[in-house]
């Protein structure tokens, strides 16, 4: 199953912020965590994570620092800020609202099979 690009883009902010809320992390590990949490259903193009991280940095939601990793290489770690946590809460409320609405709709459509296929014009007919 391939998830729509717009959906991936829209959900990237809360997902990254939530992962960073668990603990400080770096690009590769964040991507691993996304795969893990989504059960492999969310496939991000690896490189695209970085512009997202930098955008969150510019907005003040995350802070970056360079550290020397176990491998001896320099690695850029990201940490969520207080502003980022507030943003995560905000996003959670928004996504819950969307989720709740959708849930209601799925339930409704499950009760009346075929409603989604109905022609909208039936109302006026």
């Amino acid at each position: 199953m391939e998830i729509n690009k717009d959906l991936i883009a829209a959900s990237s902010t809360p997902i990254v912020l939530a992962i960073l809320a668990e603990e400080d992390s770096y690009g590769y590990a964040i991507l691993q965590r996304v795969r893990e949490l989504s059960g492999g259903r969310l496939e991000w193009t690896d490189g695209m994570l970085y512009p997202v991280l930098h955008r969150l940095g510019r907005l003040g939601y995350v802070e970056a620092r360079w550290e020397i990793a176990d491998s001896g290489r320099r690695r850029k770690y990201y940490r969520i800020t207080a502003l980022g946590r507030a943003q995560l809460d905000e996003q959670r409320t928004q996504w819950q609202a969307v989720d709740a609405t959708l849930r209601g709709i799925w339930q409704m459509t499950a009760l009346k099979p075929g409603i989604l296929n109905a022609v909208p014009l039936t109302q006026g007919a």
Partner: protein, 455 residues
């Protein structure tokens, strides 16, 4: 497990990938480092999973995604990066320290130049009363410092430094020991030509060991053009600053003109040379050069003006009206045309085939040559009537030098257009010719005054 041979290949591949990324303007070195860390981690985990190094590298690169798209995302995120910023982009953190020392040295030298220009006043040489002294020496207040900056930057050896210093000392002695007649034209000529001669000395310091190469001298030509543009820009900014200052101080009833004339203008004018040079040095890899852009803009316009001029002269049958300044005017015309030629040569890719712009260039050069020949013809006919004053000889000499330079350039250019020669030979001719101007300027400074009895 990867053996050493494998990891060598892998390192090479990662190196290539890094180089490829580096060419993208929107992705900076720190971002590349971050992406490289990602790539290596991914490769390592894929190798652990049983892939060999080659496969792991390919998969990892593919997962990072199309670099065009990535670069677009970065550009979107950092739109300012497409405007190559001079101040904001030290490439990695390592050169940051050198950039700062560089700035400090440049500002130090600028301040030294400002102090130097005020120093003679301590010994009673007032700027108004002794204007001739300042006019003769103006290049000596700043060019030695500029040369010093490049000596420091290029780590030049003591033997070169000795020659450079000798040139400045000789120049200083000559213009100050010669018994110039007050207000005479040889003094004016010396004041005008000394900077030209000494600019070559600065150029030798600038190019350092590369002075003997075409590339080194071409870099100096580029540097000179950019420096000129920067200097004009700084001067414009300075003008705004001064106008503003005058305005607000006027509001409290104070006149800044004396301060402006004796401090701000001379100190600013010499200091700005060093600062502009430092800016050109610092930004050469960061911002596109301006001189070639202006050249592109003005070459067609100048060509059109000259062709129209020649056409009008032919149609109306008007002769060039010989008066005192006509030679100077045609010298300046040739200088401008040479500048236009020089800066389009300096920015042209020698590999690219001849195009429309090259035709325009030839039209420009040939029409300038024709106009100049007509003027020279008119002057030669009446030169005995005018007599050989120092000014006229100097102007005539310059005209001939410029004419030779442009004429042979035109020949080489046409050869290149017709596929008989390479563009490189034109470049070589232009850069080889640079010292001729300095030598002529030196002759005007050194030989003319005694020749014309310091008149």
């Amino acid at each position: 497990m990867p053996n050493t041979e494998h990891s060598d290949v892998l390192e090479e591949r990662i190196g290539q990938w890094r180089e490829y990324l580096r060419r993208r303007q929107a992705i900076h070195a720190v971002d590349i480092a971050e992406l490289e860390d990602h790539l290596r981690e991914q490769v390592a985990s894929l190798i652990d999973a049983g892939l060999d190094a080659d496969e792991a590298f390919l998969v990892a690169v593919k997962r990072i995604g199309a670099l065009d798209a990535l670069s677009r995302e970065f550009a979107h995120e950092y739109s300012e990066r497409l405007w190559k910023q001079l101040v904001l982009t030290p490439d990695a953190e390592e050169p940051r320290a050198t950039a700062r020392t560089d700035a400090l040295v440049a500002f130090g030298l600028a301040i030294t130049a400002a102090i130097l220009v005020k120093l003679p006043a301590l010994f009673g040489l007032d700027m108004d009363a002794e204007a001739a002294f300042y006019a003769r020496n103006v290049s000596l207040f700043v060019f030695p410092l500029l040369a010093g900056y490049f000596v420091w930057k290029r780590h030049l050896g003591t033997s070169v430094v000795r020659w450079l210093a000798l040139a400045f000392v000789v120049a200083g002695v000559i213009v100050n020991v010669y018994p110039f007649a007050a207000g005479g034209s040889t003094e004016g000529l010396a004041a005008l030509h000394l900077p030209i001669a000494l600019w070559l000395v600065v150029g030798i310091a600038y190019a350092g060991e590369r002075w003997r190469e075409v590339g080194g001298r071409m870099d100096f030509i580029r540097f000179s053009g950019e420096l000129f543009i920067y200097y004009v820009l700084i001067a414009l900014g300075g003008g705004v600053l001064v106008a503003f200052m005058a305005m607000i101080f006027q509001a409290i009833g104070m006149d800044i003109e004396p301060f402006f004339e004796s401090w701000l203008l001379p100190c600013g004018a010499v200091g700005a040379v060093v600062i502009a040079s430092w800016l050109v040095e610092a930004k050469q890899s960061v911002i596109e050069n301006m001189a070639p852009v202006l050249t592109r803009l003005f070459t067609p316009l100048f060509a059109a003006v000259l062709v129209t001029f020649l056409g009008t002269m032919l149609l109306t049958g008007r002769a060039i009206d010989i008066d005192r300044d006509v030679l100077i005017a045609f010298d300046l015309l040739l200088v401008i045309v040479l500048g236009l030629l020089l800066y389009s040569v300096s920015a042209r890719d020698p590999q690219s085939p001849p195009g429309f712009f090259d035709v325009l260039q030839i039209v420009l050069v040939v029409s300038a040559l024709l106009a100049d020949v007509v003027a020279l013809w008119a002057i030669a006919a009446r030169i005995s009537e005018f007599g050989f004053t120092p000014n006229r000889v100097a102007a005539l000499g310059e005209n001939v030098i410029l004419l030779v330079n442009l004429a042979w350039s035109a020949v080489l250019y046409v050869r290149f257009m017709r596929g008989h020669g390479s563009f490189g030979s034109l470049e070589k001719w232009q850069t080889d010719y640079v010292p001729v101007y300095a030598v002529w300027a030196a002759i005007v400074v050194i030989v003319f005054p005694p020749l014309f009895a310091f008149a």
